[in-house]
């Protein structure tokens, strides 16, 4: 008992903290019944109180928090719908625990709560919406983790390395998350689940994990999951000892400055190392068993090094967005226009190399929006619009790409005028221009030599420097899409990778030639049977779930022989300019991360190549700029 006395104060303090947190969460649920994170915190709090109470020997608190934990567990797992009626029940439980703790403080009698526990039992039984069926294998995801309070629970730090061949590393990480979640309690998951759900690619996962399963068993479960290449598990000391470590004040060395050039230099070296390692891994089968083990570790460490160094280079988008309000205000003032400016997503972290390429496009696009998009207040009022125009920038990350939408509610782009100018300038033959869809005409303003002309910017409502914007965005493997409605406004959407130089790409084959195609262009890919290709006046089409899609053979575009030996092709659906097109290749060999180096003089004159990809074994592959290829 003397021993326990020592912990009593700690127990009371911590339990009270959890109860406060629970109060807060219930309050959040009152306003927002679907708030999953509040539910989850309730679950965790009840779970923690249960564990502490059990250790201290307070059976009443243990049982009531156990019952509440079960209820929250069902709610978190959506086995029961959360309803407002539950709020009072939850408050009642929290109050019960509070009272019990007051009693402990006052050294009064220990309470018991069988009435309340019975109430929860009843709710659970009546409230169940889904019924579990008896099926061979059983329900892993729905087994409750009651026994987590027992003494066999250990705390592990688990590192999982995914194969670099993994096509969907984020989806794979979720499979791992679900697997671990079904066998124990995840204290933290790195990268965080919300980032994974947004598609953040992660080849290295670190989990802080509690479970009563042994180390070997966890390891074998994880290794069974496909594409898991490496599992490292460390058993941690008791939780109490760690708490003390965590609460230690941060040391002065927590952050320090580093020269940007030095950082670039380290980054370049690590990038090269990453590719060298890819090459090395391809020779794996020539290694002895001992060396294979070393090479697996080596591979894992290099990937981790690359991930870590990439993280150091991340800066928030606000780095370049913060200067925009001032630019807008100045131009608006100069031109007697009134503009409201909104931004969203400026906290998103982007590689500094990418950010550097985005500065000019951001300034150009925003300047154009004020200059040519937004009308002056009198004109707006006459058109029945609000006197004050609106410009917004919304950024979001989507499967490893950054999507930035610039929108204004100005006059929009006049397609007829673009056509006129295109004809006048002889940018493209008349016949071709007349056949173009609206979306394609819009994309004409990004052609070099088209948009920089002052006459264009004066009449088209937008134009200055769009070719520069496009070139910049494409130089980092991104793409641009324009939408505009006359009198309604214009939207410019940029898709850029979050990381530079290592580009996600497909390695494809056309006859005997191999190319790399950046994933940023490709919205989906699939098999295509020869008979699925239809011809109308020599133009190839296919009907897919996206509707009728015009097809082009990559071999035709590149002036190569079309191979006729195969019945099956692969089609990559691309967003070209503003329309979806299918590009046919003989084979998609793999999905790979490649380093892309720009072409050096005189090769940069080759219009359809974005650069050269360096593969392992020193192989070089041209990176095809499909976008450019299809527009001309």
């Amino acid at each position: 008992m003397v021993q326990m006395e020592k912990y009593l104060k700690l127990f009371i303090e911590e339990a009270e903290d959890y109860l406060k947190l629970m109060d807060k969460c219930v309050h959040e649920l009152e306003n927002e019944p679907n708030n999953e994170s509040s539910l989850y915190q309730l679950y965790r709090s009840a779970h923690s109180i249960k564990g502490m109470a059990a250790t201290m020997g307070y059976e009443g608190i243990r049982d009531i928090s156990h019952a509440m934990e079960d209820l929250f567990d069902m709610l978190v797992k959506k086995k029961m719908e959360f309803s407002k009626g539950l709020i009072n029940v939850i408050y009642e439980g929290i109050d019960n625990i509070k009272n019990a703790i007051e009693n402990i403080k006052a050294k009064k009698e220990v309470m018991e709560f069988s009435g309340y526990i019975k109430k929860i039992q009843d709710i659970k039984e009546k409230g169940i919406v889904v019924e579990e069926m008896e099926v061979s294998g059983g329900a892993i995801a729905y087994e409750s983790q009651d026994d987590l309070s027992d003494k066999n629970i250990k705390n592990y730090i688990i590192e999982v390395g995914l194969s670099s061949e993994s096509a969907f590393p984020a989806a794979r990480a979720m499979v791992i998350y679900n697997k671990l979640n079904s066998m124990g309690k995840i204290n933290s998951f790195e990268p965080p689940l919300d980032e994974i759900m947004k598609g953040k690619p992660c080849y290295s996962i670190i989990v802080d994990y509690n479970t009563n399963i042994g180390k070997e068993e966890i390891e074998s479960y994880l290794k069974d999951i496909s594409e898991v290449q490496k599992v490292n598990i460390a058993t941690l000391k008791k939780k109490e000892e760690i708490v003390i470590e965590e609460s230690a004040p941060p040391t002065e060395m927590a952050t320090f400055k580093i020269d940007a050039f030095m950082l670039d230099s380290i980054y370049n070296a690590v990038t090269e190392l990453y590719i060298l390692n890819e090459e090395f891994q391809e020779y794996k089968n020539q290694l002895t068993a001992d060396l294979i083990k070393v090479s697996t570790d080596y591979n894992f460490i290099i990937k981790k090094l690359y991930n870590d160094i990439s993280k150091i280079r991340l800066l928030p988008l606000s780095t370049i967005m913060d200067s925009l309000p001032r630019i807008i205000r100045e131009i608006a003032k100069e031109q007697n226009k009134k503009v409201n400016f909104f931004t969203k997503g400026q906290e998103i972290l982007v590689d500094k190399g990418i950010l550097e390429h985005l500065i000019d496009p951001f300034v150009h696009i925003v300047r154009n929006a004020v200059d040519h998009g937004i009308e002056n207040p009198e004109e707006r009022l006459k058109l029945g619009k609000k006197e004050v125009g609106t410009i917004s920038i919304e950024a979001e990350s989507e499967s490893g790409f950054l999507k930035i939408i610039f929108a204004d509610d100005g006059r929009g782009i006049n397609l007829d005028k673009i056509k006129d100018v295109a004809l006048q300038k002889g940018v493209l033959p008349e016949q071709k221009i007349m056949q173009m869809k609206d979306e394609e005409i819009l994309s004409l303003i990004t052609l070099p030599g088209f948009s920089t002309a002052p006459t264009v910017s004066a009449i088209s409502g937008r134009g200055f420097g769009m070719d520069i914007v496009k070139a910049r965005v494409e130089s980092i493997g991104g793409r641009i899409k324009i939408e505009s409605k006359l009198q309604k406004g214009t939207k410019i959407i940029l898709y850029v990778p979050l990381e530079i130089s290592i580009i996600d790409s497909f390695i494809i084959r056309v006859s005997d030639n191999y190319f790399a195609i950046p994933m940023s262009y490709i919205s989906r890919s699939n098999f295509l049977m020869k008979e699925d290709i239809q011809y109308i006046q020599n133009e190839a089409f296919t009907i897919s779930e996206l509707g009728k899609i015009q097809l082009t053979f990559l071999s035709d575009l590149l002036g190569l022989e079309r191979s006729n030996d195969s019945d099956n092709y692969y089609v990559m659906i691309m967003d070209v300019g503003n329309v979806k097109r299918g590009v046919i290749v003989d084979e998609i060999l793999e999905h790979k991360k490649v380093i892309v180096k720009p072409l050096k003089s005189p090769l940069e004159l080759l219009p359809y190549y974005q650069g050269i990809a360096i593969l392992s074994k020193g192989k070089l592959l041209p990176v095809v700029d499909v976008n450019k290829l299809m527009i001309y």
Partner: protein, 123 residues
């Protein structure tokens, strides 16, 4: 005893490919096929398979919806998504909805069998 599988895909080509891979392995037995989500739910009810391979993009009802529907019938259902490259967001959504694992087209028979065997033995 062979593991009983329902194969869901709108393309006959894909269905027969997966079916051949599974039936030839000796470990699996394809007991049902469906070409859209609505059919999938129906066939699931009738055949009660041990495993489902589920295409994502399909007419009438897509694979994610069908996954949710099947999990309503049986929360322990083991569903493996079949996805084309470039559809990671859809796969993530499916896994969040309760799918157990996924395979990516184009795939090798070994890969398909490995993933399905692993999911089948999960308890």
């Amino acid at each position: 005893m062979a593991i009983r599988v329902l194969v869901v895909d709108d393309a006959m080509f894909m269905r027969s490919m997966i079916k051949d891979i599974l039936n030839n392995s000796g470990k699996f037995n394809v007991v049902g096929e469906a070409s859209n989500g609505v059919e999938a739910v129906e066939v699931y009810k009738n055949t009660k398979p041990d495993l489902v391979t589920m295409d994502i993009v399909m007419p009438v009802m897509d694979g994610i919806e069908a996954t949710k529907e099947i999990l309503k019938i049986n929360p322990a259902a083991k569903i493996v998504m079949v996805s084309a490259l470039g559809q990671e967001p859809l796969v993530i959504e499916s896994i969040a909805a309760g799918a157990r694992d996924f395979i990516v087209k184009p795939f090798s028979p070994e890969k398909v069998l490995k993933v399905l065997e692993q999911v089948a033995k999960l308890t």
